[in-house]
């Protein structure tokens, strides 16, 4: 028995779950899965959980979901706003990610991969939603407003939220996403480019155009409401 063979059979020793043994046909699995015993979910890294999930372990899917769902939700909320479809979109993101786990090569981190799928799903959703403006329920507005603020302050906050999301809904999805990631989440252009799958120069142009459009629309709204703000510079102003 060769040294490599000894290593293989040691690796296949009983503590490795049978599902992994069953997956021995997939040579890629063998090279990807660390030869460690099962540990508690919190202690397992993403790569290890992915390997278990590819092997069909339901608890690994569960652990990956629990670990990342809050970040996905947060990003999705920023990208699409307080949309009632966010729960469905979150499911869709995880379905796509879990469905493509076997093809996940590990070039980028799992978090980045998840972010890319989230951006893609959000972009599709925004494209579909352009014909119907986002309706923010009063209940959600109350949830978002600070509970300890005065009624006047809460009303003002609600108005500002409404204005912001109405303006953002007028911006085209790709520009809007680049704008949110760059300006709101303060990511670097390179990071945004990796998430949206575009070049850095394209992302920079999208951000610039989105900023111009947002400022123009806000100025227009402000002027319409009669506050007499100065007219901002912009391509179309």
């Amino acid at each position: 028995v060769s040294v490599a063979g000894l290593g293989l059979f040691t690796w296949l020793a009983p503590p490795v779950p049978p599902k992994v043994v069953a997956a021995v046909m997939g040579v890629a699995m063998m090279t990807r899965l660390p030869a460690r015993h099962r540990r508690h979910d919190e202690q397992r890294g993403d790569a290890e959980l992915i390997a278990w999930a590819v092997g069909g372990d339901p608890s690994a899917f569960d652990a990956l979901y629990r670990r990342h769902v809050d970040a996905v939700w947060s990003r999705l909320t920023r990208l699409v706003g307080p949309d009632p479809d966010r729960e469905d979109l979150t499911q869709q993101i995880f379905m796509e990610v879990f469905g493509g786990l076997s093809r996940f090569r590990g070039d980028a981190s799992f978090r980045t991969y998840l972010g890319q799928v989230a951006v893609h799903v959000a972009c599709d959703h925004l494209g579909r939603r352009r014909r119907r403006p986002l309706a923010i329920s009063a209940e959600l507005m109350d949830t978002l407003s600070a509970s300890d603020a005065s009624p006047e302050a809460r009303a003002e906050q609600r108005q500002r939220l409404h204005l912001t999301w109405t303006v953002l809904d007028r911006v085209k999805p790709k520009k809007r996403i680049a704008f949110i990631l760059r300006t709101v989440e303060e990511m670097s252009l390179e990071e945004v480019a990796e998430l949206v799958g575009a070049s850095v120069s394209t992302v920079a142009k999208r951000v610039k155009h989105a900023e111009d459009e947002v400022v123009r629309l806000l100025a227009q709204r402000t002027r319409d409401s009669g506050e007499g703000r100065p007219r901002p510079r912009g391509r179309q102003s």
Binding site: V1, G5, L6, L8, F9, L12, P14, P15, P17, P18, K19, V21, A22, V24, M25, R38, G56, P58, S59, F61, D62, Y65, V69, D70, S74, T77, R78, G81, P82, E87, T90, Q91, F94, M95, F98, G99, L140, L144, S147, D148, R160, L161, L163, T164, W165, V167, L168, I180, T183, V184, E211, V214, V215, L218, A219, R229, P230, R231, P232, R233
Partner: protein
């Protein structure tokens, strides 16, 4: 400075201000996911993944994939032969300490935890049986069980002295051979059943837990009562009833069908024997049983052996890795379960149903266990029912929402969405002023949910039920004790800031300045930006200024 420069400067200032305002507004929209919503999305995701998994399984064995199947078969055989040869060379003739487990889909019939020697295993096994499915399982080498889906069971311990299982929901029919000593313990919501040798059934559903006995005696310890109750042959005890009553005919049929299936299987065994709970055993049986035990202990079986799975849902194939067999006619006619009927609507009639509840499953039982295909196909899924409940809630139709949620809980007790539905039912009950019903639902979720965050949220909500204006001092004291227990059981929980605030408010009301100062200090130290931080500091200050008693 020219007018143009001034204009440009103003434009730049407005631009910066506008972008900053948008940034703040977008960040302010960042509402947290919340435990309930997280659990709800997770439950739906699990359901969708299960469906996807089933489709893949069907596709894999589709006739169109013959070439792929042939390739897979050849590759599998080659790999298995290679591995077997390698293991044989490497390990010689020594028996493998682990028995491979069948692969399972996620999450229709899942097994969690690695297998191991039966005699020493203390690892938990988790089995989920989908609706409309019955799984026969052997626990250790002495308990022969049938799980009627939807059902969830955790095997906590399986040793020669004790087989300890937790029936989360569903119906468990069991035949336990206790002639060699030892104990079978079934932990169900609100009751624990201990058996030393009998044929019995446990139903854990929305109406509580009920234990029915066909032969022998079991000891039932209810959570609500300190003293155990003995339930004898042909008796049923519901956890919320004072004493046993006669067993219902359908439940007796279930148990007899379970026993006759076991006997039929025993007759087909190669050694022709099976453990028989009926004393006294004949010498032939004794000898047979002894040889069987010897053989099984030599094989060192895993604690749980899923022997067979039967699926009656036309659209749900049996889980891969588990052999499917047709239901024997006798068992089918005796059981008479259809897809969607299960523990939530126990056909055994062992639990007391309030008059307002829907008719029992056995009132219109179809003949010979047949399921009308169109009925099974038309039955809404848990997700569809939950969506209907959400739609009703959006219309502020609480009655409609309650009805749909109750169906989720009753028809899909094993589904994770049922846990969220039960939590939502508690909220609706509370809104309707039914604190008792809310408390029961919350306690069930807090005790039995598989989602730790949901368990925690339910436990906290249960504590809150005992706090509020107009409640008696004893109840408030119970609520405060509940919160203190919650804190010690869940250190660093998401609800901790709120719990601390409640404790500070209560201590302040009771003028317990020592507690106020201690808790307020802890709050400010842990949550300096918390919503109650300023108030905590104020109350502490008030206490510090107050004269000592």
């Amino acid at each position: 400075m020219s007018a143009g420069d001034r204009r440009k400067g103003a434009d730049d200032a407005f631009r910066a201000g506008a972008l900053e305002s948008v940034k703040e507004a977008v960040r302010a929209t960042d509402d947290s996911l919340g435990d309930v919503r997280r659990a709800r999305i997770g439950a739906r995701l699990a359901e969708r993944l299960a469906v996807t998994n089933e489709k893949r399984t069907i596709g894999l064995f589709d006739w169109r994939g013959r070439a792929r199947r042939a390739w897979l078969t050849a590759a599998t055989a080659g790999a298995v032969a290679l591995v077997a040869a390698g293991v044989a060379v490497w390990r010689g003739a020594a028996p493998s300490p682990a028995t491979p487990q069948p692969a399972s889909p996620f999450p229709a019939a899942s097994r969690v935890g690695a297998g191991g020697p039966a005699a020493t295993s203390a690892r938990a096994e988790h089995i989920e049986v989908p609706a409309g499915t019955r799984v026969r399982a052997r626990l250790g080498d002495r308990a022969r069980t049938t799980l009627v889906g939807p059902a969830i069971i955790d095997v906590l311990t399986s040793t020669s002295d004790l087989i300890d299982v937790r029936l989360v929901s569903g119906t468990l029919l069991a035949e336990y051979d206790g002639r060699r000593g030892g104990l079978l313990r079934v932990r169900a919501p609100a009751a624990t059943v201990e058996v030393v040798g009998t044929l019995f059934g446990v139903e854990a559903g929305v109406r509580g837990t009920a234990v029915s006995v066909a032969h022998g005696v079991v000891r039932v310890t209810r959570d609500a009562a300190a003293r155990p109750i003995l339930v004898g042959a042909l008796q049923t005890l519901a956890a919320d009833e004072a004493g046993p009553r006669p067993i219902s005919a359908p439940m007796r049929d279930h148990l007899e069908a379970h026993q006759s299936e076991g006997e039929a299987r025993g007759a087909h065994d190669s050694d022709g024997t099976r453990p028989d709970p009926e004393p006294p055993p004949t010498p032939r049986r004794k000898a047979g049983a002894a040889s069987r035990h010897t053989k099984e202990s030599a094989l060192a079986q895993p604690p749980v052996v899923l022997a067979k799975i039967e699926s009656r849902s036309p659209d749900r194939p049996p889980a891969p890795g588990l052999a499917a067999e047709p239901v024997p006619p006798s068992a089918a006619s005796a059981t008479g379960l259809t897809a969607g009927e299960g523990a939530g609507t126990p056909s055994g009639g062992a639990t007391a149903a309030p008059p307002s509840e829907p008719p029992r499953a056995d009132s219109g039982r179809p003949p010979a266990g047949a399921v009308p295909p169109e009925r099974a196909a038309a039955a809404p899924s848990a997700s569809q029912l939950y969506r209907a409940a959400e739609t009703a809630m959006q219309r502020r139709d609480r009655a409609g929402a309650r009805q749909h949620l109750a169906r989720v809980v009753a028809e899909f007790p094993g589904d994770r969405l049922a846990e969220v539905a039960r939590y939502e039912l508690a909220q609706i009950a509370l809104a309707d002023g039914h604190r008792g019903a809310a408390a029961r639902d919350l306690e069930t979720v807090a005790a039995a949910s598989r989602d730790p965050a949901l368990r925690r949220a339910a436990a906290f909500a249960r504590c809150r039920l005992d706090l509020g204006p107009g409640l008696s001092a004893a109840r408030t004291a119970a609520g405060i004790r509940c919160l203190q227990n919650f804190r010690s059981a869940n250190p660093g929980a998401a609800e901790d800031a709120e719990v601390l605030a409640l404790l500070i408010a209560h201590a302040s009301q009771q003028a317990q300045c020592g507690s106020v100062v201690r808790l307020a200090d802890e709050y400010v130290r842990r949550y300096p930006a918390g919503a109650f931080a300023a108030e905590a500091a104020r109350r502490k200050h008030t206490c510090a200024r107050a004269p000592a008693p």
